[in-house]
């Protein structure tokens, strides 16, 4: 069995430890004897819709994101074809925004997105920034997914289902309690950086999604995640707002 990962624009969209997610997926596959191949796909490269099991797209600074967004529009049809065929996808922060229908800037300009998620994003004034915890229904382990968010845009779902419900933090827009978006095996989220490192249950969920298209239901042998879950628990509790406090 081999896991084929595609890392989109690794040299442009690489803020906040995003590449940690690739490392976590690779290690968790390798520890179970699954070989991994990571292919960087960048500006002007063709994206083979059938060539990968999971496509990863991170966030980047404004300039880099601008450069990537133009190219991503051209790759949009391939990305859609891949996701329609059941390929898994993880898009974080800026990458998540670029896969929505459009982004409306502060000056009212509308920048088209790849249109994978039925959602749009608007520029906000205050950045939504801080520790966040969400509840994701599909996971096999009943623990929150925790992370850090830092985004100026507010995303509103237009039919896409959310990845999860906000326990604390802002999520998509700070108002409707949703976080991220789902379409088939594609996941978009504002939980940036090495999200999968403290959420091994989410990492394994994505691994299963990635492998099932070519290998059917895959049984992943359990790993010793005591360190990961201990940190998940400690960080979750530390930022949990105390109820009834003035």
């Amino acid at each position: 069995m081999k896991l084929r990962l595609c890392h989109l624009y690794p040299e442009l969209l690489n803020l906040y430890g995003d590449r940690g997610n690739i490392l976590v997926l690779c290690r968790r596959a390798e520890w179970r004897g699954i070989a991994v191949e990571v292919t960087p796909v960048s500006l002007g490269d063709k994206l083979d819709p059938q060539g990968y099991d999971l496509i990863f797209l991170g966030g980047g600074p404004d300039q880099e994101q601008g450069v990537a967004s133009a190219d991503l529009l051209a790759k949009g049809p391939w990305l859609k074809e891949a996701v329609e065929a059941g390929v898994a996808l993880l898009a974080i922060c800026g990458g998540y925004q670029l896969l929505g229908e459009y982004y409306r800037t502060g000056s009212g300009e509308t920048l088209p997105g790849a249109g994978l998620f039925a959602a749009y994003t608007e520029a906000g004034t205050r950045r939504l920034k801080g520790n966040i915890a969400i509840q994701v229904e599909e996971l096999e382990v009943d623990r929150p997914v925790i992370g850090f968010e830092n985004h100026g845009g507010r995303t509103f779902l237009q039919g896409a289902r959310p990845l999860g419900r906000v326990i604390y933090g802002d999520g998509n827009n700070g108002s409707d309690g949703t976080e991220g978006a789902r379409y088939k095996n594609a996941v978009g989220t504002y939980l940036h950086g090495p999200l999968l490192s403290k959420n091994p249950h989410l990492a394994d969920y994505l691994l299963r999604l990635a492998l099932q298209r070519r290998h059917g239901e895959v049984e992943l042998p359990p790993l010793d995640d005591s360190l990961e879950f201990a940190v998940n628990e400690a960080v979750y509790r530390r930022f949990l707002p105390t109820k009834g406090k003035w």
Partner: protein, 455 residues
Amino acid sequence: MLRPFLAFWAGRLAAFICRLWQRGGTSLPGYLALKIDPDIMGRLASRYKQIILVTGTNGKTTTANLLASICRAAGLQVVHNSEGANMPAGVTTALLNRRGDIAVLEVDEGTLGLVTRQVRADGVIITNLLRDQLDRYHELEQLAAAISRALEAIPAAALILNADDSLVTSLGRGRDRVRYFGLARTPWSQEITSEVLEGHICPLCRRPLEFNYYHYSHLGDYSCPRCSYSRPAAEYEGRVLVLNADGARFDLIYPEGRLPLRTPMPGIYNVYNVLAAAGAALQLKIDPATIARVVAAFLPGQGRAENFSLRSKKLTLMLVKNPAGLSVALKTLTSGRGKATYLLAINDLAADGRDVSWLWDADLTPLLRAPYQRIICAGLRAGDMAICLKYQGVRERDLKVIPGQEESVDFLLEEPGAEGIILCTYTNLALYRRILKKRGAVSEVTPLPSLSGTP
């Protein structure tokens, strides 16, 4: 006319009281003076013959301290915010001092505009624009744009810019008086980098830049494949660099000659600090022999790679505050060292940066390859550090997670082996210093070169 007078004397009085209480490094006098007279910074600055500002994301404290030491050794009367109080209040506090020939002022890169609005600087040194607490200045390019606007207020100032940093060189466009410092290819230069990059978009045509090699982070030799933009020739260039655990030596090639330099400060980032300060000193027409003498003796103050002896152990304490800093610290401190215990103390308070995702952007390979006794992870984000190391290949039995700082030091002292390396984020630094002192550690920091200039 009463207001400036009042402001000046209120500030001086506060400074006097602070000294009486032996509370160094405070910004309170400047804060008070600015409250009374918001324009006082400019008024005070006009009392100096020359004003040099030092800014950038990393290395500005070391660069400014070194330049001030060189100026003092050359017999100049120097005023300087040496405790790193680099916000407008700290700059004003420094200027409240006696008159002098030259003010060497470290200025926070985010508030440079507040200073240049009032202070007609003669020169500005910009060390680099590396990623540093992005949740505070969340985009480096926005920071570069803000610095560019701040420089527009002082069009006549001479700039000394880092040639190897494409974001910094973009600040020299359209200016008359610009000189560059940089580093020629070294044996450590790499054609690819495993550190995460920023600032690699052409400032003219917005295409990704191509790199012949990297020194560290995004510093290196770059050119745009589309337009003419490329690394400018450096008037102050370091060549034939030799790096080792005891420091570095290299030749500084400048328009009038060649100056061999030796610094006890380890790490390639300190080579840049020396290049910037020595370049500025040469521009100030200071005797090259004086520059070499001060550089050879200069060691930074507390916190930046400080050595201690405690019981039978030799301990090194060092501040790390961003991925580039952590990468370089590990590269430097592991080089040529035997089996040591490493302690990484990571906090996420406001001064550290709330988001610790940056740990995953650092190049930890020097540590992974080093002979380590054990790696202790401490601080509020001990667990994040441990997970990061686990996924990079450290066996869990070689890892120890001890969030409590006191307990982590006690554990370290019980480990076998003679050496301990403690890397701390900002808010852990003073804490670990205190913990070590409390247990009887003796600091081995060599003091700054004396004011009279004798090495």
